[in-house]
Amino acid sequence: MAITVSPETFDFVSFDAAYIARIAQHVAEQLGVSDIDFAIEIDETSALNRIGTDTSGTPVQITVHSGAFEDKRRPRQQSEVDTTLSIARCMLRARDRVRGGFADAPAEKDLTLPQAAAWDTWIIARLARLDMPVNKQAWQYNWRNRHGFNDRADAAFERMWQAESMDWSQLCAASDAARSISA
């Protein structure tokens, strides 16, 4: 497996490319994607907390705005936890697409907001089960923003959070069902 990180040095933030690569290596092993090549590209001019994954070519591209790796308490400093979680989210999404029953899923930019939220929920729930430090309430809020603020949407979130297995069509069906209740 090859993991590359660019840029190699940073002007706007105090990030360490080698450290990012080490974290990525560790996460890849944890998630069982050590056989996939990844290129992690960081936009250090943006403080936004955005990430993206593109599995259309090789290596798999992970794009990150610097806010996604940042320690929010100490601006411009790197956070190990945030770096780990952001990379893990991207790698798990890549794993889903490559061999997890999500091959039919549209490209990142074509995902609807509810689809993206549902997929994120499913990803984060699995990371929580690996003992990664996630804030469930934050993801429930994200789900509610996309599926509605009501008890039945909350119940659908809980089912998604507890789900042992899921493929793209099941995920879409669960998301659509939750939204139709709200509508």
Binding site: D11, S46, R73, A116, N135, A138, Q140
Partner: protein, 280 residues
């Protein structure tokens, strides 16, 4: 207890991490996304339609939370720092005490909302810029900086958040922001009324206060995060500002300054992105 307290001494528990406006300005990064297609503008307005809406709303809510703490502290200090009658009228101090209570409730509301949105106290850095605006040794300047500029910004923030809650269908957020907005309009109005009353026969002092307000408004427009363009995450809430006693000319001025700040920021980003691209 001494009079006048610097922002660097604001008391906080271990969860908080403070930064100054100087630190903020040293950060060359942006939260404004440029669209490289010259014919299209990016929409950065904080609405549920943004992909990162939940995280951005959470970060803004934490900003509101720490802002409310500083507003509470600023109002409280105005009660203490000025001698009643000689330096500040009794009724002005009563208003500031009332504001302290309102801000204390806003801190409580922000805590509840942060919890609801999945944010933790101290999860983000606290910029002490708001209290810095509340450190003037002239109560009129302080009112201009805090009640008109800072609380004016709060009107913009709460209007944006209220709309966010409305569009997302989040009854809790919409309800809370609506109530806080009502208080903020009252606070700005207090500032507008006292500014007029105290400087009635002192045009020089009024001029100085308005200049100070403009400086603070510029400071809050830094980075272009607030403007009438949807390239900024926060809108300027004209209607509520009018209710609070801002004239059209004053709102036009804020809109202009904010737009300038946004354009400056965009030019900086383009320059930096070009530099990074040439490096790579």
């Amino acid at each position: 207890m001494r009079k006048f307290m610097p922002a660097s001494e604001l008391a906080r528990d271990e969860r908080f991490s403070q930064i100054t406006q100087r630190d903020r300005m040293a950060d060359g990064r942006s939260t404004v996304v440029l669209n490289n297609d010259q014919n299209r503008r990016s929409n950065n307005r904080l609405t549920p339609q943004r992909g990162d809406a939940s995280e951005a709303a959470r970060a803004l809510m934490h900003g509101i939370f720490v802002g409310e703490i500083q507003a509470l502290e600023g109002a409280g200090r105005t009660c203490w720092d000025f001698t009643t009658g000689e330096e500040a009228p009794f009724a002005l101090k009563l208003d500031m005490a009332r504001q302290a209570w309102d801000e204390a409730r806003h801190v409580e509301i922000s805590c509840k909302l942060s919890d609801w949105m999945g944010a933790e106290i101290g999860q983000y850095a606290e910029n002490t810029v708001l209290f810095e605006a509340a450190c003037s040794d002239d109560p009129v300047l302080r009112l201009a900086g805090v009640n008109r500029a800072l609380e004016g910004l709060a009107i913009d923030v709460f209007t944006t958040m209220k709309e966010f809650g409305e569009i997302a269908g989040d009854p809790y957020l919409e309800f809370c922001e609506d109530w806080m907005l009502a208080d903020e309009v009252t606070h700005v109005k207090m500032g507008s009324d006292w500014l007029r009353k105290v400087t009635e026969n002192d045009p020089e002092r009024r001029k100085k206060a308005l200049e100070f307000q403009n400086i603070v408004d510029k400071m809050f427009s830094y980075g272009g995060s607030r403007s009438e363009s949807d390239e900024s995450s926060l809108m300027i809430a004209r209607r509520f500002r009018e209710l609070a006693g801002f004239t059209d000319t004053e709102v036009d001025y804020i809109a202009e300054v904010s737009m300038q700040a946004l354009n400056e920021r965009k030019a900086q980003i383009a320059e930096r992105q070009a530099a990074v691209a040439s490096k790579n």
